[in-house]
Subunit: 131 residues, 6 copies
């Protein structure tokens, strides 16, 4: 397969343009991230993913927007997704993540990945008080 | 190998007891989680892991203790570590995580795991503005 | 270690050439993918891996060749293996995968990675009817 | 946190019942899988996940329903999600997966996980013809 | 699908019995591990996997048998495969792994999982001298 | 977030310089790997990670230094960490890993990733003798 390519706004179908327009309005920027331009190769996947992300990351939830971005970033680091690390680092920074907070987030991601394996290898059973 | 077993306080060496005592003082509870009782099979690993966790999860950092626990929990869910999910859910709850917050955390962990793969499969290049 | 390098046909040992010849005959193309040229650094690993792939992907199995390639591609996407995504996308396309099918495959890979984590985090027990 | 528990139909809110009813109609069975009863702890997560799964796994797509189930199962095996393996094995079997097909699926999941790592370790660059 | 079940020696086909016999001769024990009894549901998968494991773990290689078992165990811990941890711990122990060695192995598995993520999150480029 | 950048020796704080100096003394080389220059953005993370790596990889343990490096490399390959593969391949080679040993290590990493999934998909229970 030729590698998928980005669908730019001007070349997009009305169905895709509608998603791009909503994104621009919600995010208050004309820039559309590459992920959306590639998902646009499958308009249903684009729409569904955007609707889900919009709902999950909505600012009126029980978790504040900065913490939400940091959780998204932490998973992306744990999965070694370079693209996701770049974009969610930027998003978290724009919502207030400082370099010190990033360092602590990284320390937790690293430590959790370490202790998750220690638990497996030592076959640690769940304490009765947590079960 | 026979499966490793827990080292209880009374059977522990002075080196291990010292870690257990510090844990009880810091955590203000007599209960010692199973993970530590199993790591105690290797006193150096026990001490080093405890010192690191204590420093990483310290309450005086740039990230507040509840958010730290939620980050730890999110990674543990992403890695499907049953033991870690049980203990860090309890810890996060004790620091203020509500069921609504847990639901939103889960939604982010799920969504990030989904979009991390969409990015790989569509081979999405990093936008120039993030590089 | 200097990074491993490709073993081209002309520089290959008779043992490696024999595998390359078999590949060319089976795949009906002179092109040998880079993965094989790198595995050729260990001729036994090359031979064993090729014999296994040939048997697993054989066209006379219970699963048709296109579906086999799509399964291989799906795992490669889930594991974020860039090389594997490029080569197995091409192979699947050559066997009939359309862009619409690729989009649906991606949607399933994403969704499975999401729900696999939801199950872990909510600690969902197996329904009695499936056990 | 006490472990989450299942929300049974009779104890469910109208919002949750609506999803359960849709599920029963679409799936033509009264049985509701445990995953949904646990996600019901967060009605928005339940609804969004169900709507997405319903759309992704719809029978009128470019990929046939059996292949879709096998792709879902393959990812679940690769991620070692016991619950997901049990439920998607059953679903694939009900759509026509035979034991021979399951064996071949497993062989591909295993082989892909193997070769994905061989590619990483040998640092194999993408062939120019696939880039 | 009903969960797969073990194929015991007496109920096995001649093709499967041949593999079991080879195993017993090579491993010098009548016990056949459950993994083989389950793979026997697909005799080709059983034979191919056994032949590969036998070749990979052969005692006459460049890496000694104990180190080979410890590498296998380390990956199994990193992947949190409970069955594999139990069997490869036993195999490594039978070849000379002491509890101290197991503790150090665990420390390395944990540390590598931690630093692998630190590298991703900090987007560390490869030093020119290693490229 | 602008991508993190390397902290060179001359621009480093006294706290960071102290770690760099210790590294140079222990490793008997002036070269400081990029990972440390990036972790130096968070001096506490740098110091803690270095102290842990130094202790875990110490030459006087129960496992010899070459085997330790090969275990670290195996996990890095399994996690597809390109940077880690490059640096730990070089470190293992400098301690005596030959190309034949690398090939066998790779074969084990691949095989373990394969059989770990076979075990999950076939839902293999632990043999009573290992439990």
């Amino acid at each position: 397969m030729t590698a998928p390519s980005a669908i730019e706004y001007d070349a997009a179908s009305p169905e895709v343009k509608k998603v791009y327009d909503d994104m621009r309005a919600i995010r208050k920027t004309d820039h559309i991230n590459n992920i959306w331009k590639f998902l646009a190769n499958d308009p249903k996947l684009l729409r569904r993913t955007w609707e889900s992300v919009k709902e999950v990351m909505a600012p009126d939830g029980a978790i504040d927007p900065l913490t939400k971005e940091m959780l998204y970033l932490a998973i992306s680091v744990s999965n070694s997704c370079g693209y996701c690390i770049a974009t969610h680092s930027a998003a978290a920074e724009s919502k207030g993540m400082t370099p010190d907070m990033f360092g602590e987030l990284m320390a937790i991601v690293g430590m959790a990945n370490e202790t998750n394996r220690l638990v497996s290898g030592y076959r640690v059973p769940i304490d009765a008080i947590y079960d």
